[in-house]
Symmetry: C2
Subunit: 237 residues, 2 copies
């Protein structure tokens, strides 16, 4: 059922990772003692691609800070439908889900490693102590919240007001690798944008007709990145 069991076990041998703290802007200015405390009170873990980092029904006993890789956070509803909510990148944290877990059981967001992930895991005790003790850490946490929340606000705004072709164009640019290739099925893109596969199919074949992309099975190749970006930006109404 859950893939949580697949997680690699605690990996303390990664000595080079004791100073992962500096990878987080907001934590750089932590005073020395607090920093030690944070490093000691947490541990670095490795998750394979596809691992479920958190899911409904799980206890919220820790905060994850991503050192590398990306995590997709999505809302799964009763009937198996899914909406993509946001993506957590290296240098960011999973505060929202932690908060939700903390308070209720009836939330329904899942966090999935899209790539192999390295993350610092701060147990609840350490988290609580640091929030109490350190102004810097507090600010870090609240800023993380704020960032996610504004993301959600703009997501809602987009869903309600933005045209789908505009949103798709933007997402393609975002997801493209260095070669301008997006490795995703129509289904996945549909879930990301909260729409149906068919709609993505039609939009993409339209893009293709206009020479913006070329399609392949399980991948989309951006031909005219500039035009897509223009479409994505110019989509204001």
């Amino acid at each position: 059922m859950s893939q949580t069991a697949n997680l690699d076990t605690d990996d303390r041998t990664e000595a080079s990772l004791t100073n992962w703290i500096d990878r987080f802007d907001g934590l750089k200015s932590l005073p020395e003692d607090t920093r030690t405390r944070l490093a000691r009170g947490s541990r670095v873990r490795r998750f394979p691609e596809g691992a479920v980092l958190f899911e409904p029904g799980q206890e919220a006993d820790r905060l994850l800070l991503l050192l590398s890789g990306t995590v997709r956070v999505q809302q799964s509803s009763d009937q198996g439908r899914e909406v993509f909510l946001y993506r957590v990148n290296a240098g960011e944290s999973c505060v929202l889900t932690t908060a939700c877990m903390l308070a209720f059981e009836d939330y329904a967001t899942t966090g999935i490693a899209e790539t192999p992930v390295l993350a610092a895991e701060i147990p609840r005790g350490t988290f609580d102590a640091l929030v109490a003790e350190s102004r810097v850490f507090r600010e870090f946490v609240f800023r993380a919240y704020a960032r996610r929340i504004t993301d959600l606000f703009t997501l809602i705004d987009d869903i309600v007001f933005q045209r789908l072709d505009v949103r798709l164009a933007g997402r393609l640019v975002e997801l493209a690798d260095a070669d301008g290739v997006v490795h995703a099925t129509h289904q996945v893109l549909g879930t990301e944008l909260g729409t149906a596969r068919e709609v993505i199919s039609r939009l993409l074949s339209d893009f293709q007709k206009r020479g913006l992309v070329k399609q392949a099975r399980g991948a989309v190749c951006l031909l005219d990145r500039e035009a897509l970006e223009r479409l994505a930006r110019g989509g204001e109404r």
Copy 2:
């Protein structure tokens, strides 16, 4: 422009309000000294209906806890479009906006008093001190976050997957007063649900044909509350 200037001035004469703290479940178990500190470090303010409690560009120097009345929080976009995000009721707080203000300037949510409002205002200094000192207060704050965030999650889910008639039915039941009357124009209902006035008009006249509601200017009267509730609940797909 802003109505913030309309706010009543500081109202310390309301002696009966020094123990407003007990109106908040999460704060009841505050130890005596912390409680005193919270009461002293904050003040109770009164806002007239229509007052803007917070808006883009304002500094996040305080947290509001609602003692009575309701506040509508909405996202206003570039082109004057608005989406209703959530409603803050008595016994709840405006944590999200505070967080957003705390971290960025480029958010765009506005809080408007829908009724006359009485609120405890906790200045940033007090807030920070209490978060540091009191485990109970900390938990209160994080739970407030969690509550709002899950609300946003379900809002997104609804917007993406739920049919409008179902959402409208639910909202009508929610907004109806004791007599089963909703005092709102089609425009307002449209904004609440993130849709256009015309759509609301059509849905309502459909509801009327089906004998579920009766319409009047600026108001909707629920005729068959049960049926509406059934529609709202049964809307799962």
